[in-house]
Amino acid sequence: MRILSLLQINAFKLRQHKVKAMFLILPVSILMVLTIVVSSQVANFKSAADESIFGTINNQATLINLSKTVDFTANRGPQQQSFNSENQFTGSDIDKITAISNVTSASINSQVPVTNVKTTDLFADKTYNISNINEIDKYSASLYTQEDFTYTEGQAIPIILNANTFMEQTENWNGQTSIAVTFNRGTRPNTRSTGTSAPNQDPLSGTNSPIKTQAIAYDKSTLIGKTFTVTVGGLSAIQDYTITQASGTLTFTKLTADEINTKLATEKTDISKYWDYDKLNTPQTYTFKVVGLIESQGDNKTYIPADFADVVVNKYVQNQLSARNTTDIPTTDLNSTYRGITYDGTQLTSTSNGFGGFGGRGGRGGFGGGANMPRPGENQTSTASYNIPGLVISLSADGQETVEGVSTDADVYKNSVKTGTSISLKINSVYDRSQVVKDLNTAGYAYQDINNLDVFNNLKNTLSSISTGLTISFTILSIAVIIFAMSKFVSDSRKEIGIFRAIGMKKIHIIIMFTTQALLYTAIGFIIGGGLGIILNQASASFMNSWFDSLIMKTIKQTYNVVNAVDTSIFTRLSWQTIEYYSIALLVITLVISLIPALRASSISPVEAIKGE
């Protein structure tokens, strides 16, 4: 008997008994759909995880940001952290850290010595004073951004903002001119935001205080990628109030218009002695682009590219130098009446509390860049002093810090030995991380590593196991389905088999007939399930995408600021390798497994056909 005739018998049988054929076609279709969708999505998840989770770990885990411990519980808050050398990393730290094996590079995130850095177009109707600006190299910047963090003249300068500094100070005198506030030790305002921020208070802005500090609400998604204009330098606005302290009470007194004008006139006269007032008061303008946003607590730094830091300080100093007249400034006035950056021939320090200190209106009336709170025993009635933007005061290099004059080197920052409260270091490979962390601690740099590579390695292994497990499960299920369905077909066909045998069909033809039946039905299930699987795989892509995004948010985003993005079409991919494997496995299984019921069918005695007549 020809094979074609046997195939035709099966085709006719299928046409007549479609419902029964579904016993095999349907489960094979379902298995095929599951194989395609589940295997593809598991493979896609693996790829996405490789790109996003493991890729991030591989990139990010080679970077460490080592910070000097900042005690946020201190009553003055971090913005008033003094600039003493004990809190600064120096060149010797870099030498020690780069000596650790497998550390490929280390650089200090030096604070950029510029003041009055502000923007009015980043947040609608709000002036945001950008504080604590630090430089960072492009390698370390990848801790916070995926974008290229290099400065290119003529293009928007990349900047990594810090949400913890999104604050604005406002005044509300409620119609009064003097307000007494009981001075309580405040805590640092919690400005961590998940998108919008509730108003917070700082130590100065108690309920009754006319000076309010409020967090600025922001939306990360609209902030990232935004370009905005920043002014750097210029003289700070006159503080329009005074604060006096007496036995635990702070008294805020609003200045009258006359008093302000007098103060302004005095300032103008004092500064004009040595500088062109208007020129000195002219800030530089730059266009920045937000490429990263730090939201984690315990970090107040805003980052700009290291190469740009040299440029901005150069122009900042240059502006001061070009505004200078020829009159010599007595050394006694330098660093007292006229404050600025000091330079001892090696390092730069600031005479004010911080360069771009929190609360940009500082630096006048004898108080530094911090908030304008008098120290105990001090009142704001001291002799006026002025923060001169770009003024670099030369100190003796003998450690006595004797004021020697005004430095005329505009590249002083570029040439100085940088110091800073954090060091970014890059490790050779992710596998060296734990050893480097150990060595850092041995070298005296207390560093608690929050990376837990074991968890991710376990996840990676689990994913591989799931993938293998699924493939094995589908294979076993296919065997079960074919055995079950074909056994049913055989037992339902006993009479038919008997008749066929009685009229002369050979055993081998019975075997071929049932094997080809299994192949035909499986092929139909394969085609239906395959088509449906491909469609469903596409349909499930958006769901998988959003699920993966939320997984990333809940997991790796908690550890890393920057997580490698995955191709949005990743979940539409089909795992051809698995599909090929399963197709071949299905063909082999069908052929081999259907032989069992087919052999049983061939052994049915033709007498069965006549029995019962």
Binding site: M1, F12, I503, G504, M505, P606
Partner: protein
Amino acid sequence: MDYILQVKKVSKKYKDKGTEVTALSNISFDLKKGDDLAIIGPSGSGKTTLLQIMSGLSQPTSGEVLIKGEQVHKGGDNKISEFRNKTIGFVFQNIYLQDYFTAKENVMLPMLINNVPRKEAKKRAEELLELVGLKDRMNHKPNKLSGGEEQRVGIARALANNPEILMADEPTAKLDKDNRDKVLEILQDINKKGISIIVITHDDAFSKIFKNVMRLELGKIKNINF
């Protein structure tokens, strides 16, 4: 003498619940080519067992069956199957047409098993269905045919490979009188064409019409009227 069928001392025993039962005991007879034979007898007389042995579907415990002088039970399964396909035509009491085939396709089946080219098989199936009076019903499926029509298709199927002997097991048992007469008439026509026919039956009509009648009782030949 030219015999189509020779049954020589055929016995069949089997065990039923530990007891040996003799289904057939020492059956011997010969049938000449072109002859007919009605095997009659009550239920349990061994008629069906004898038919199964004669057609090679079942092995005798002892004795032998020769068709056209060839031992039916000699050789492997393939040889016996082929022999059955080419030499013997079967008509079943329950007919057993395949519901997924039309009348014509059912008739074509034994020819396809015999590797007859499809075109030729189709032509012959049409001729055979015309012979049994089903020219207009050949493209109908079994569920559209009456019982009598189905049995006529069954007879056409039995004749597909032009067998020299046709064996029928109670071919009229489930038919009404009109259909029974029609079937009888067809079988007689076939016999007239030189095809030997053996019918197992309860139907007395066969004993009146058939030239040779054999009566079986309790596995033995009660009487034989050749």
